[in-house]
């Protein structure tokens, strides 16, 4: 191992490096905290499948040396549902962004949460469509600038963590890339939760969001994320006016609920003549 190399390099496909991410992008911090959280949760890396859609964040699984499925825009949760149902023993993680989960794939997000299927979604929310060049997304703050809103966005953004909590997600947390320790712990909790886990990471896109919104360097953006953040416990006691332009961070939901594939397997065991299906993965191991 090269001196001072990240201990997580062992999880990456070296031949794919360097990444396509811009200098200062938050995706690197999220990858780092994910591996940390994965180790803390003692997830078997060989049992992990990563699924992604379209966008900068969706390129992450391509750099990770585990099984992965790079799918269509907005649909990774649907593909992940298929994987999980085919073999409930897999650890299935979706890497996604605000474009994928809040815009084109919003429907799949709420239905995944409603079912409480055991998938962990890491949503890197940078408040803008980064890959296509800085257009307004459904999480862009009101008044923020984008290439499709040259005079500022007029629309209300989604509160994604609130949305997933309301839809039935059993573990929901929001942190920013300025909170790597808390983020790793949330990823750990999300992976340990048997059910639909949603970890929203407010992240920096200095290339587009920062440049268009007077936050020109990654440092400016990280400072902004840290300074704007306010813990949920404190925020719950504040009124709406006080929370304008604040990022509420913390755990939104941590309430284990019966999980979908468990319920389905139990039904099959009770009602199906063949009983509970044996895992597909074991078929390969028999060869």
């Amino acid at each position: 191992m090269v001196k001072d190399e990240s201990p997580f390099m062992k999880y990456l496909r070296r031949d794919r490096l360097p990444t396509i991410f811009c200098a200062g992008c938050g995706n690197g911090i999220v990858m780092n905290t994910f591996f940390k959280g994965m180790e803390m949760a003692e997830v078997d890396f060989d049992n992990l499948i990563m699924v992604s859609g379209i966008g900068c964040s969706s390129r992450i699984p391509g750099y990770v040396a585990c099984d992965s499925l790079h799918t269509t825009h907005g649909r990774p949760i649907s593909f992940a549902t298929g994987i999980k149902l085919a073999n409930p023993e897999h650890d299935v993680v979706v890497f996604s962004g605000d474009g994928d989960t809040a815009a084109i794939g919003g429907n799949h997000l709420i239905h995944g949460a409603r079912r409480n299927i055991d998938i962990t979604v890491v949503c890197i929310n940078n408040n803008i469509y980064g890959m296509t060049g800085g257009q307004i997304s459904p999480t862009s703050p009101k008044g923020s600038y984008g290439s499709t809103a040259p005079y500022g966005s007029l629309e209300n953004p989604f509160n994604l963590s609130g949305l997933v909590t309301a839809a039935g997600g059993s573990y929901v947390a929001r942190w920013t890339t300025a909170h790597p320790v808390q983020l790793s712990k949330a990823i750990k909790s999300g992976l340990e939760n048997k059910g639909f886990s949603f970890i929203e990471v407010i992240s920096q896109c200095p290339t587009y969001y920062g440049r268009k919104n007077k936050l020109r360097t990654p440092i400016d953006m990280l400072n902004w994320l840290e300074e704007s953040s306010i813990n949920k416990k404190r925020a719950d006691k504040m009124d709406e006016e006080e929370l304008i332009e604040k990022i509420v961070v913390g755990e939104f939901q941590n309430k284990p609920q019966p999980e979908f594939t468990d319920k389905l397997c139990k039904l099959l065991e009770e009602q199906c003549v063949t009983g509970k299906p044996t895992s597909i993965r074991s078929a390969y191991l028999e060869d």
Partner: protein, 382 residues
């Protein structure tokens, strides 16, 4: 006025001058700059339209159908996966006879994921009831948008149009484009007058449930409209030439009169082919190009008239209908008795050079097996 711009810029300029009232659009590479230019025009007040930042292409085309159904001129734009996501509503737009104009930046379809050019996306929508016009350059992209509104909105036609430009090759390269005067566009394209639209004072329904007594007639009417559109296109081309001085058609014949070998192709590749034709003509070889501009309606009569005198023709497809081969090749073979060879090239952005065109001409001159699918520029396993 001559300005240097990309095809995406040219499409946006054309849209601005056609004055649509509603523009629902969702960014996708390599269409994105169209959505950005139009957002700026609307924000700056130079285009008086409702610009909707929708959450997906399915919503973009759905909102376009709604707006067009309400009786206003409408524009949207997309590419590749976005067009595929619109598939369901493309049929609806045509079936409701909404004269929407859509700019499509031609790009390959996943999987494997590719953002580069071929024409699989729009070709795969050939049965939806949309007209499709393939531009060779940015000037045509601008001209075709203006013409498309006039053709689509003609009361004999009332079918939506797609103006197709090759992704990156046209969307991200710049060239001089003659921007017409607004007065001339206004004269050529008067405000849209719908014959029927959603009006609470005079209620009607669009796209209602039909039993087997009615559905076939609706489809028959659409086929009749598509057939009749060819004459409308010819007439609109003529009017366009009178106002703007540029001549377009259902097809373009380039040095085909005495040609022994004629290449048939669509889109930006025709620029390369013309260069090769000129080069070979200088060497005394009788070759020509027949460019298909209107892929739907399919101008089989015009194609046949142009190629019937040739000894052999080569049909170039930047698409493949897996299991049979290039779509343009197979449609030409189905519609006319010609000695044709089919070539698949440029899929997923694979480079096409003049040498490839010469290779195609050589293979057409001495064909081994005419029903074979010939792949050009393919990396064969060693």
């Amino acid at each position: 006025m001559i300005k240097v711009m990309s095809a995406n810029g040219a499409i946006s300029e054309a849209v601005k001058m056609c004055k649509p009232k509603v523009i629902p659009v969702f960014p996708i590479t390599p269409q994105t700059t169209i959505s950005e230019y139009l957002a700026k025009f609307v924000a700056d007040g130079v285009l008086d339209a409702e610009y909707i930042r929708v959450e997906s292409e399915h919503s973009a085309i759905s909102a376009a159908v709604g707006a067009s159904g309400a009786g206003v001129r409408t524009f949207t734009a997309t590419s590749s996966q976005g067009l595929a996501l619109m598939h369901e509503i493309l049929f609806v737009a045509a079936g409701m006879r909404t004269p929407i104009v859509l700019g499509n930046a031609n790009r390959a379809l996943s999987a494997p994921l590719s953002i580069w050019n071929d024409q699989q996306d729009s070709i795969s929508e050939r049965d939806t009831g949309w007209m499709q016009f393939f531009a060779e350059n940015a000037q045509e992209a601008l001209d075709f948008v203006i013409q498309a509104y006039k053709i689509s909105e003609d009361h004999q036609v009332l079918l939506p149009s797609m103006v197709c430009v090759d992704g990156y090759i046209l969307t991200h390269t710049v060239e001089p484009v003659d921007i017409p005067r607004q007065e001339d566009v206004d004269e050529f394209l008067p405000p849209y007058e719908p014959i029927s639209y959603l009006d609470p004072k005079n209620p009607m329904s669009l796209g209602t449930f039909t039993d087997p007594d009615y559905y076939m007639e609706a489809r028959y009417d659409m086929q009749t409209a598509m057939d009749g559109a060819k004459d409308v296109i010819r007439r609109v081309n003529k009017e366009f030439e009178e106002v703007f001085g540029r001549k377009h058609g259902l097809v373009e014949s380039y040095k085909t009169e005495d040609a022994e070998i004629i290449l048939v192709a669509m889109g930006s590749i025709c620029g390369t082919i013309k260069t090769v034709v000129d080069y070979l003509r200088e060497k005394g070889e009788k070759v020509g190009l027949l460019r298909v501009i209107s892929f739907r309606p399919f101008p089989q009569e015009d194609i046949y008239q142009a190629v019937k005198g040739a000894r052999r023709i080569a049909v170039l497809d930047k698409n493949i209908s897996l299991g049979i081969g290039g779509v343009l090749f197979n449609e030409i073979k189905a519609k006319m008795d010609v000695n044709a060879s089919g070539f698949i090239l440029g899929l997923g952005g694979r480079e096409i050079s003049p040498d490839h065109i010469i290779e195609i001409i050589e293979k057409t001159r001495n064909p081994t097996e005419t029903n074979k699918i010939n792949w050009i520029g393919l990396k064969e396993e060693e």
